[in-house]
Structures are given as structure tokens and as C-alpha cells.
Subunit: 351 residues, 2 copies
């Protein structure tokens, strides 16, 4: 790709003149304009989407607002890394930049100023929750006529543009799978209900139990915070409840991996003593022993789709989904962590 | 945190007036200024680092330039995710945004324009290589008096500010570890030499061999591209060379994990048939079977350090390291993947 400097040299003008010509800004002599355009054409130098954004007074940046969680290597979590990879894939071709900004979870965040100060042309919100101050920020944003999209969070009755996954169906199918294997007493290690994905997962779990006439038993419902550590810590409670549990469904793979580790340290032989089901289909879920049965969530596609919607709107395209809620499908992935065969059967499998 | 809007309402002025007062821009009546300052104080509204950047004509953004690799979920690689997490930790407190921008590997990239167009105040370069067009872009950047820092790449004689890790020592120590366990014929699956970390790793490997009077044998040196797939594909060559290999050192854990998978599919019993050493100490390295002996690289700290240097310079602090090369230490982590005991010994260990 040719640089602006090369175009300027070939045309015999300054770089600033090249910019003025190509952005259509300011008075320029026809002869100069022709020389610049000819040089740009010869060198294959083209105005990209961002250059044309600048010409329209835009920043060329898509904002991505993330929660700051102390001590967590956010980009190293499957959840955020996959959503960001999808967003990155959507923006990279047009030359837009991704402006990552941190907010404090549970605190107000002034999204509107990002637009008013022209720091971003559009905004994606990741890791949002329904805590009142967070929801107020989203509500204020929704009142402005600006392109934004929330990923993996919906807000009850608020008409907020969002791309989410079908977590109701995801946990419903996972719970049905355990029930069909003869497990009636299914424990549930979920994340905090302030996230709509937690609440949706809880709903799917209850739906599946209700269909089988099994009452919700809060004694075997555990709450973690989606970290591996919280799963590891939950192992103590799960081990104490062992005589009233047939299996455990987890709200994400990180907690499931921590739970597996904690149970193994207590002498559990997995999956034979206690089938465990994860959620997300993170890379690590297939690497651990036993490999996790889990629910695949299309995080990459969610990020890609959310960013594509914004770019379509910025490009002037019809974006009828802009005010809507899109729900992408989830899918059960069966692996060994919920096999119910005995260790002896396992050994013969390996031969 | 109060918003500018709330300050404006309490002071009975427009939001634009609040901005002009707080940024010290434009003529303002003393009475108005006092009302705004009083309202801001009462509401706890403060100018943050970014607001003061804007007042000085800066963007408030730190650029992070990343290679775009088709089909790779970049943020989901341990390498990039950890460096980015470290960078994020450094910038989050000051309110700076991280502006992620993609470049095509091997192609020229116009870093200088990012500064000239005031899109960024400082710039971090990740995943750079010594390919001529890439190096030319870095050289042009180095000629400007702007804050930038390269992470995990050095450029021969060019005085480029960079934070790297001691990969010479990392692979030297890993190779010594294998030699000390009685393995003389050590294969090496490395990444492309266009990355200085590959070249440094190769140097450490050769140093350790030379010390033991072992000649470099290019027949057992393999090249991958740091992907799991390239490690998986290398398994065919490694298996074919099995009778002249005592062990294999890999340039990163992803390739090592692919190699382990490929060898297992060919019936290898690991680690007994062939000890494997990874590199990076990625999360996955401890999850797979066998857990990998590997070299820990402080990617998080490298990102944190590189970003901190830039922020220090932006903040007007003394930044004597700005033109320098910083080298952070690496460390060997010993796990089961290079144990040399027999399967029988393993079984007794497990009891």
C-alpha cells in the first residue's frame, strides 16, 4: 500500500495538500488536484473508510467498553477474547480502530460523552449487567440516536440493541441430557443473576426440571462468579452435598474446570463419581481430564454480528436490526465428563 | 461519578460551557467559572487524565497495532491476550483508551500518520517482525520524536524502544534441562526466524548444545508458525525421525500441544516414548495430558511495562528507558511431559 508521503512526492506537493485533495477539504487549484489524483491512482493509494470518516468529522473508531475486574487477565478469558476476536474480524477490513475503554462494574459510565466528544462513531458494550447504575447508563445511551450494540446482555423491557445467545435453550438442553442419562438430582453452579445470561440459564435449567416433575431445590444451587477459583471453592460445598447429587451443571467452563480440580483433590474419580457439565465450549474444555460435556456458545459470531450491525449503519446501509434483539443459537457438545460408565468400562474403551 | 450534564444542570449552564471551563479553553466570565467549579466540586466531578489530554490537543488514546492473521482468533491466543491484559492494566486507571489497529503482516504500515492525525498519543507495536517492509515502518517511526514501544521484538542494530523477554536464556535453560536428563539428540520445533524471539530461542538452543560438544543437526530442526495446527502437522515428520530423536523442544505451547496430539494419534505413549518441552507457560500447558514442561514468559508484565513507559512519558515523567531495550527474565517450569520414567513407574506414582 502506498503512503500519503509517496503520493505527495510523486505529485510534488506537501502531504497536507494530499490530505486536503483526497478528503475534499479546503480550496485547491484544479491543476494541483489533478496531479494529486493522478499520483494517487498510479500508486494505488486509496481513501479508505476511515479517511472518509475523518472527512465527515468522524473519529474512525468503534468503541468497545469493557468491565475492569481487578487481577483478572480479561483478554485471556475465553468469553472476552472470542467476542473481541469476532469484533476485530468485522472492523479490520474497513480500517476502523477499536477503541477499548474500561468501566468499573456496577458504577455509572458516561457512554453518551464518548459520542459527544467524537471519540467514537459507534459503541459496543461488553460484560454489562442489570445493576441499576449500569442499566441507567445504557438507558441514557438508548435515548440518543447513536449506533451502539450490547453483547450478551438484555435489559428486561428496555428496547436496547443487543446480540445475545440462547442460554435458556443451552441450559435446558444440557439439563435434559443429564435427565435422559438417569440423573434426577442435578446441582447447578451458576454465575450472578445480575447477568441476563445467568438468569436465562437458570430459566432453562428450571424448565427442564419442571417438565420431569422435579422440584427446584435451592440446596443444590450454588453461586460462583465465573472464575476458575470460584469453581474450585465450590468443590467443598459440592463434596459435602455429594449424597444428594447425581450430577452438576456449571454456568461456564472456567468454573467447571475449577470444580473438577477441587473434586479430584478430594479423591473424586471423575466422571464416574459425579458427572459434570460445563458451558461455553472454551478451548480448555476439551483439554482437561475428563474432557467436558459443555454448551457451545458462538461468542466469536456474536462479536462479529454486533460489530457488523454498527458498521452497516455507519456505512449508511439499511440496518433494520439496529434497535432489535438478536438471539444466536447454542449447541450441546457431548464429551466424557458426563459419561456414566464405570472405570472398568473406561479401561476397556482405551484398549 | 457525576456527569458533565449534572454539573451543567447544577451550575445552570450548558454542557459546552462546563467543558470550556474545565478544559480552560475560550473566554468565560468569572461568575460563570465560579458557578461551574463549585458545582463540579459539590458533585465530585473531576478532570481526568484524558480530559486534560483533550485540553492539550491530544486524543487520550494509546494505539496498539496488531497483525491481522486470517482465521486466527488473535485475542484467544495466550501470547496476545496476556500482553493486552498487561497493557490494559496499565492504561485503565488513567482513563486512556486503547486504540487497537490492524496491519497486514509483511506489509508497510504508516505508524507516523497515526500521530500526525492525532489519532493516538502513543503507540505500542505487537507481533512485529524483521521483514523489510515491517522494519521500514518501525524505522520511520523511530525517526519521529514520538512515544512508542515495541513488544517482544528487537531489530538488530536499530535503536528501537522495546520490551522483550530473555528467550536466549529461556531455550538455553530448557535445552540444558533435557541434556541433564540424558537426552543428547534434541529436536527443535521453532517458529519463523523473522521474529527475533524465534532467532533468540534458536541461539539459546545452539549454545546449550555447543557447550556439550553436540553439533547442530538441521535434520531434526523443524519450522512451524506458532499455531497448534503447525505443531500437529509436524508430528508426521517427528514420528518419521523417531529413531534419531531423544526429545523435542518447541517454540511455543500451542505447537507443543498440537505435536502431543499428533503423536498420540500415532500411538506414542507420552512422555515415555518422547519427552516434549513447550514454551510460554500458557494456561493450556498445565491442562493437557501430559502437562507440559515449559518456559514461563512474562507476557503480562511485558505489556504492562511497555504501556507504563509510554504513560510515564505522556505524563511528563522522566522516562530514561524510552529509547532503550528492556529484557525481562524467563523461567523453566518442570512438569511431566519430559519425565523419563517408564509407564510402569507412572502407575506406581499414581497409587
Amino acid at each position: 500500500m502506498a503512503t500519503r508521503k509517496e503520493v505527495a512526492e510523486l505529485a510534488g506537493v506537501s502531504e497536507a495538500t494530499v490530505s486536503r485533495v483526497l478528503n475534499g477539504v479546503g480550496p485547491i487549484k484544479d491543476a494541483t488536484r489533478e496531479r494529486v489524483m493522478e499520483a494517487a491512482a498510479r500508486l494505488g493509494y486509496q481513501l479508505n473508510a476511515v479517511a472518509s470518516s475523518f472527512a465527515r468529522g468522524l473519529s474512525g473508531n468503534i468503541g468497545v467498553v469493557l468491565p475492569h475486574v481487578p487481577k483478572v487477565h480479561l483478554f485471556s478469558t475465553y468469553y472476552f477474547s472470542e467476542i473481541l476476536s469476532g469484533i476485530g474480524e468485522a472492523v479490520r477490513t474497513g480500517g476502523h480502530g477499536l477503541l477499548l475503554l474500561y468501566r468499573d462494574p456496577g458504577q455509572p459510565f458516561d457512554y453518551v460523552s464518548l459520542f459527544r466528544t467524537r471519540r467514537v462513531d459507534a459503541c459496543l458494550v461488553l460484560g454489562a449487567s442489570s445493576l441499576p447504575d449500569e442499566e441507567a447508563g445504557i438507558r441514557a445511551l438508548a435515548e440518543e440516536d447513536v449506533p451502539f450494540c450490547v453483547v450478551d446482555q438484555r435489559f428486561g423491557g428496555l428496547p436496547v440493541p443487543a446480540v445475545i445467545a440462547d442460554h435458556v435453550s443451552g441450559s435446558y438442553v444440557a439439563t435434559r441430557h443429564l435427565l435422559a442419562s438417569g440423573h434426577a438430582r442435578i446441582g447447578f453452579l451458576n454465575g450472578s443473576p445480575q447477568y441476563s445470561n445467568s438468569a436465562d440459564r437458570s430459566q432453562g435449567y428450571r424448565m427442564a426440571l419442571t417438565e420431569e416433575g422435579i422440584a427446584w431445590n435451592e440446596d443444590i444451587v450454588y453461586e460462583g462468579n465465573y472464575s476458575r477459583k470460584s469453581g474450585y471453592e465450590a468443590a467443598a460445598r459440592v463434596a459435602a452435598d455429594f449424597d444428594r447429587l447425581d450430577a452438576v451443571l456449571c454456568g461456564n467452563d472456567r468454573m467447571a474446570i475449577g470444580l473438577v480440580q477441587g473434586l479430584k483433590e478430594r479423591g473424586f474419580r471423575l466422571p464416574y463419581d459425579l458427572p459434570i457439565v460445563g458451558y461455553d465450549n472454551a478451548d480448555a474444555s476439551s483439554l482437561i481430564d475428563p474432557p467436558l460435556t459443555t454448551v457451545e456458545v458462538p461468542f466469536y459470531e456474536m462479536g462479529l454480528r454486533a460489530a457488523s450491525r454498527l458498521l452497516s449503519r455507519l456505512g449508511g446501509g439499511a440496518e433494520d436490526a439496529s434497535a432489535g434483539l438478536e438471539v444466536l443459537p447454542t449447541r450441546l457438545v457431548v464429551r466424557k465428563s458426563c459419561k456414566t460408565s464405570t472405570p472398568e468400562a473406561k479401561e476397556s474403551e482405551n484398549e
